[in-house]
């Protein structure tokens, strides 16, 4: 087969260390794995999306991946004009024949797992989530986080606050600090650069953090318990793989634990920081996600 041309359109920079970096890593991996030609468009603001999608389509790209729910609408507007191009939207649930598919990770489940872990690791009984801006996936994560924590420790106090920006790392850090001052000793964060701020604030305050997106423990080994994995690379690998073997359908694929769309990163040194039975409870929870008894319907 001739080399497929694939465009990945990102709302932010590939260096944000989370949401966009993850997608970028994914496409890099896919490039290594499949016979594809790849181009990545960064920092695409909403006003540009339609023009960007349209241009790629005009240039005969076989697949255009829009990384974020905000791509759903422009895609729906133009996909019909370009039947030979597949439009894939990440972190949204849209689909349209013949050529629109979406891949969404179960952010809620990821949040639930993170919450459970936090609930078991907190000593103060207070934990916190700092979101960038309440976009759907972040709100899902936020709900899951609270539910997960309470499932392990019903009386746990869950604080949550929003930065109001994806890139304001300093504010992200200050908000985290304020939650820590209010007693939180395990924090997690969703968004882009702001996540780095949270990790650093936790690091400086000597409390624990739970990463999001991809395993970032190297950033602060003594701070990050584990990471609630959002395996964007899996979305992208699936999309590309199915494009190449022709099995891609105009559906919205939702990737949970079993589809390896989410998960928990290895605990490494933190394995030993909680009791064996607590660790067992985490294992149990993961099993329930695997056999579908979780999340609570």
């Amino acid at each position: 087969a001739e080399t497929k041309k694939i465009a990945l359109v990102l709302p932010g920079p590939v260096t944000d260390g989370t949401f966009n970096s993850a997608a970028n890593k994914g496409i890099e991996a896919a490039k290594a794995k499949y016979d594809i030609e790849v181009v990545v468009r960064e920092n695409t603001d909403f006003a540009q999306i339609q023009d960007v999608l349209r241009s790629y389509a005009e240039e005969g790209y076989d697949m255009i991946i829009g990384h974020g729910f905000q791509f759903a609408e422009p895609v729906m507007e133009i996909h019909a004009e370009f039947p030979d191009t597949w439009f894939v939207v990440n972190t949204a649930q849209v689909a349209a024949a013949p050529n629109v598919a979406s891949f969404d990770n179960r952010w809620g489940d990821a949040g639930y797992m993170a919450g459970a872990v936090a609930g078991l690791y907190t000593k103060s009984g207070t934990i916190g989530h700092i979101g960038a801006i309440p976009v759907p996936v972040i709100e899902d994560y936020n709900k899951g986080f609270e539910a997960g924590a309470k499932s392990m420790r019903p009386e746990v106090k869950v604080l949550s606050a929003y930065v109001g920006s994806f890139s304001d790392i300093a504010r992200g850090a200050e908000i985290t600090t304020s939650l820590i001052e209010q007693g939180a000793d395990v924090v997690t964060s969703t968004g882009n650069e702001n996540v780095v701020g949270t990790i650093q604030a936790a690091q400086k305050a000597g409390v624990q953090a739970i990463g999001t997106a991809f395993d970032s423990q190297a950033m602060a080994p003594e701070t990050i318990i584990t990471t609630a994995l959002i395996n964007m690379d899996v979305n992208i690998d699936l999309a590309v793989g199915r494009l190449i073997d022709g099995s891609l359908k105009p559906e919205s694929y939702v990737l949970g634990l079993n589809e390896n769309g989410i998960g928990l990163a290895p605990f490494r040194d933190f394995e030993s920081k909680i009791s064996a039975e607590d660790m067992a409870r985490i294992q149990a929870m993961m099993k329930e996600f695997a056999d579908g008894t979780l999340p609570p319907k």
């Binding site: 606050a161 890139s167 790392i169 300093a170 504010r171 850090a173 650069e193 970032s216």
Partner: protein
């Protein structure tokens, strides 16, 4: 929660949030006093933030990072000065160009260097001082004696500049350059040289603000990490009616209001967080309506001085 702790935490955070804005505002004050608007400080802050991290990492000393940042800022300022002072180009347009240049240079530099190893680079950044070992004293301790060195330097710098403006002949020349350059020229003063220096100074201060962001408040650089602080700084300049010390106070106002809204958020999950985020700005608007004594902008601000000879 314990009030004392809350208060000291609030003030400390407020000061941290204020410092980068304050530093940039101090610099902008000087250049505006001399008659040159620099709307590009956001870009300069970014360059400063990046250079500071880069040099801090490679040299192991945040002071070296700070010095390098200040130099880079002065250089960025020089670009603006060349276009606005020497070439008499439209100041705001040049500033906007500088903004983009700064965003680009910092981001590109970052990707060429630090970003290679992912975001995991460890930055041996500034730590809070403990002056006279008094930082431990409850509440006042951390506020007065437990801050970052740069914060004390900012205050001292502003005080010196205020003195310079009010009590030195250089100060007179700067004010003349901003209010009525014809007079300075007729008196044999070099309007353009004065303005050039002031613009470079504004760059240096803005870069120092960026350095604080990336080597003191945080330890690391990410693209666009200034997130609009440059424009807040410009507001502070006007708010303080072109007085360097006032600029610090204005920035502090913003910082503390911001720190406060941050702390309120978690307390009231019911209220949409946006209403907390806008609080500092609303406060600013209201106080503007209530407490403005008709600000006196330097009369020649934004206009090039080109005598017909």
């Amino acid at each position: 929660m314990d009030e004392a702790l809350f208060l000291s935490g609030l003030l400390a955070a407020g000061i941290r949030l204020a410092t980068p804005i304050a530093l940039a505002a101090i610099g902008e004050t000087i250049s505006q006093r001399a008659g040159v608007i620099n709307v590009g400080i956001e870009g300069i802050m970014l360059v400063g933030a990046f250079v500071a991290v880069l040099v801090t990492v490679s040299s192991g000393s945040p002071w070296a990072g700070l010095a390098a940042a200040i130099l880079s800022g002065a250089a960025m300022g020089a670009i603006h000065a060349v276009f606005t002072v020497r070439l008499k180009a439209e100041q705001i347009v040049s500033g906007i160009a500088l903004l983009f240049l700064g965003i680009g240079l910092s981001g590109y530099g970052f990707r060429l260097t630090l970003a290679q190893g992912g975001t995991a680079v460890q930055v041996p950044g500034f730590r809070e001082l403990d002056l006279f070992g008094l930082a431990g004293v409850p509440i006042v301790g951390p506020i007065l004696f437990g801050q970052h060195a740069l914060i004390y330097l900012a205050v001292i710098g502003a005080a010196l500049l205020a003195f310079m403006l009010s009590s030195t002949r250089l100060g007179l020349m700067i004010k003349a350059a901003g209010d009525y350059p014809q007079a300075l020229d007729a008196a044999g003063g070099a309007v353009d040289r004065v303005r050039f220096l002031c613009v470079m100074a504004s760059g240096a201060f803005a870069a120092a603000g960026g350095a604080f962001l990336s080597t003191a408040q945080l330890w690391g650089f990410v693209e666009n990490m200034t997130a609009g602080r440059g424009f807040l700084a410009i507001s502070c300049v006007v708010f303080a009616r072109w007085n360097p010390l006032g600029a610090i106070v204005a920035a502090l106002g913003f910082g503390i209001a911001d720190a406060l809204q941050i702390r309120m958020q978690a307390g009231y999950p019911g209220v949409p967080y946006q209403f907390f985020v806008i609080a500092p700005y609303v406060v600013a608007i209201v106080s503007l309506a209530l407490a403005s004594r008709g600000s006196r902008m330097p009369a020649a601000l934004g206009t090039a001085f080109s005598p017909q000879r």
